[in-house]
């Protein structure tokens, strides 16, 4: 009986683990997204959650601060990134790296992986040296590369694109694992292989090394670490009581030099270790407990119960709100529209009829293009691969002006002055605007860019897929159609 009790006691999650699970659930409250295989597109996505949680995850209900920062810097040639800098400053100031210790879903995942019973690598001078790598990644991949390409009007969120394991796991794998997105498997290429390998290496490393990604690579942790001295939440050390015995340092698995520094994630695991009770929570009088080693007073227990009740109420409300039956009806209405006109969005279907306004004046009517092969490219100025592939379409237009019609249709989501962007480029393609998003929706798209649809001379769809287009691929698709 005692053995069972001991096992149960060992399995009992700590309060910090419960908060981590709570935050992961709250950040990914759109459970319906996992069932449908699509991302949430509501207004809460404009708010950045504290912690690394990819906004392309089907469950995500908020934006990733790191992705938002890179995109803001990548567009900094048009607009100063005030909002995201303000949000990072505010969250860093209030919570600091407590976010890493308590709220980050990637932190939770890494800690769970560390529970796998394999030999562990302890911290050393080498790991301490490696912990500076995340500052290099922050500077190079989050700041310099996006800014460098912003000068060429090319948005490149380099960390998301080349490194971020959260994007691969939550975004790419999260979406592709759903049968509804089976057609997207054709997109997978070298970039996915590269990112998948990074994910596998990091996941393996996390089994052997405590929070390997968080300690060595995460630029968001590097940003929050800058607020170590001023953050309102976290642990503090009473210097007058501290005897510098070093037990806290020896117990800590992070590469800290002292408790509460920029590497400290404020998990509070050093609090019960301190023999002098010199470590406690900042703002302990306001929060629920100042020192974990002390038996909480009935007042503290009461306040803790109220806090948990409120937190559960918020989570319940969020789960109901994001999963209520009437949300995300856009896809359903699109299907009805497609059915009414006996057209469709799949290969072999007749393309739905539509008219879009052209930049520079005039309109583009798809039915007017019958007799010619038509290429519809859906793009946006804020989408890096979209901007990168535009020259392919321009080349096609130049090569076959009489047999092929190419049109680039901008997403309804306009964040920049598209005409100003086009004025900087030398494209002669017709550019249009999908004013209300109905055109891309009628062709089965919506949230994934770039997207290309190719129609034969009779207006039937012969190709419809999201993902980057290359000149070779486009030629291979178009040449047989022209030859017919």
């Amino acid at each position: 009986m005692d053995k069972i009790k001991n096992v149960l006691r060992a399995l009992k999650p700590s309060r910090r683990r419960l908060i981590q699970v709570y935050a992961a659930l709250l950040y990914n409250a759109n459970l319906k997204g996992f069932i449908r295989g699509e991302i949430y597109a509501g207004s809460t996505k404009g708010l950045c959650v504290p912690g690394l949680n990819c906004y392309s995850c089907p469950g995500a209900v908020g934006a990733c601060p790191l992705g938002a920062l890179q995109n803001a810097l990548a567009s900094s040639d048009k607009k100063a990134p005030f909002f995201i800098l303000g949000i990072l400053l505010l969250t860093g100031l209030i919570l600091g790296r407590s976010i890493c210790g308590f709220l980050c879903p990637m932190g939770l995942l890494q800690e769970l992986l560390y529970k796998v019973p394999v030999p562990k690598v302890k911290k050393s001078r080498f790991t301490r040296l490696m912990s500076w790598l995340k500052y290099v990644i922050l500077l190079v991949f989050v700041v310099i590369i996006p800014l460098r390409y912003a000068a060429q009007s090319l948005p490149v969120p380099a960390f998301c694109k080349y490194i971020c394991p959260a994007g691969t796991l939550e975004g790419a794998i999260g979406l592709l694992s759903h049968p509804a997105n089976a057609d997207k498997l054709s997109l997978l290429g070298g970039l996915f292989t590269h990112k998948f390998l990074i994910l596998i290496v990091l996941a393996t490393a996390c089994m052997f090394i405590y929070r390997a990604f968080c300690r060595f690579l995460c630029p968001l942790g590097a940003i929050y670490g800058m607020f170590a001295r001023v953050a309102l939440a976290g642990v503090k050390v009473d210097r007058s009581a501290c005897t510098d015995c070093g037990r806290c340092m020896a117990h800590c698995k992070m590469d800290i030099r002292h408790v509460g520094d920029h590497e400290c994630i404020h998990c509070g695991e050093c609090i019960p270790v301190c023999p002098e009770k010199a470590i406690s929570w900042k703002g302990g009088k306001v929060l629920l407990a100042e020192n974990e080693t002390e038996v909480p007073s009935p007042r503290h227990v009461h306040r803790r119960m109220i806090a948990w009740a409120l937190a559960l109420l918020v989570l319940g409300g969020a789960l109901w709100y994001f999963n209520r039956p009437d949300a995300n009806t856009a896809a359903a209405s699109t299907e009805v529209q497609a059915g009414e006109t006996s057209t469709g969005c799949h290969v072999g279907d007749l393309c739905p009829d539509f008219t879009v306004p052209l930049y520079g004046g005039g309109e583009f009517h798809v039915r007017d293009q019958l007799g010619k092969v038509t290429v519809l490219n859906f793009w946006a100025t804020w989408c890096a691969p979209c901007c990168a592939e535009l020259p392919c379409f321009q080349q096609l237009q130049d090569a076959c002006p009489d047999t092929v019609t190419v049109i680039a249709i901008h997403s309804r989501l306009v964040t920049d002055d598209v005409e100003a962007y086009l004025a900087k480029q030398s494209y002669t393609l017709p550019f249009a605007l999908d004013t209300d998003g109905s055109v891309i929706a009628s062709l089965g798209g919506g949230t994934m860019l770039p997207m290309t649809v190719i129609l034969d001379r009779n207006g039937h769809i012969v190709y419809n897929a999201a993902g980057s287009m290359t000149h070779e691929k486009l030629s291979a698709l178009i040449l047989p159609l022209i030859a017919d």
Binding site: S75, G86, L89, L188, L191, W382, T415
Partner: protein, 91 residues
Amino acid sequence: MLPPVLVGFTAYGIAMWMWDASCKRQITAAETAEDNNNKSAPSPASKNTMTVRLVLLALAFLLIGMGILNDGLTDILMKAINICTECIGLG
């Protein structure tokens, strides 16, 4: 944009280093002070910290306000409700 950001990072680093040095000086001064009667009064270091917090808080709200005015919030929303295939590694 790159030079101002690099200057900003450098300035931040220097400011933190100077602040750290200043805090250490003040803590030492406070510890060696003979008069320890007034223990309840906040130390100069904690006063400094509180000032920095208030300045940063004001700056955060100012930036957020300016961001809302220049549509920065909308930009984040636009990016978050659309999937950039390349950005999540799909290619």
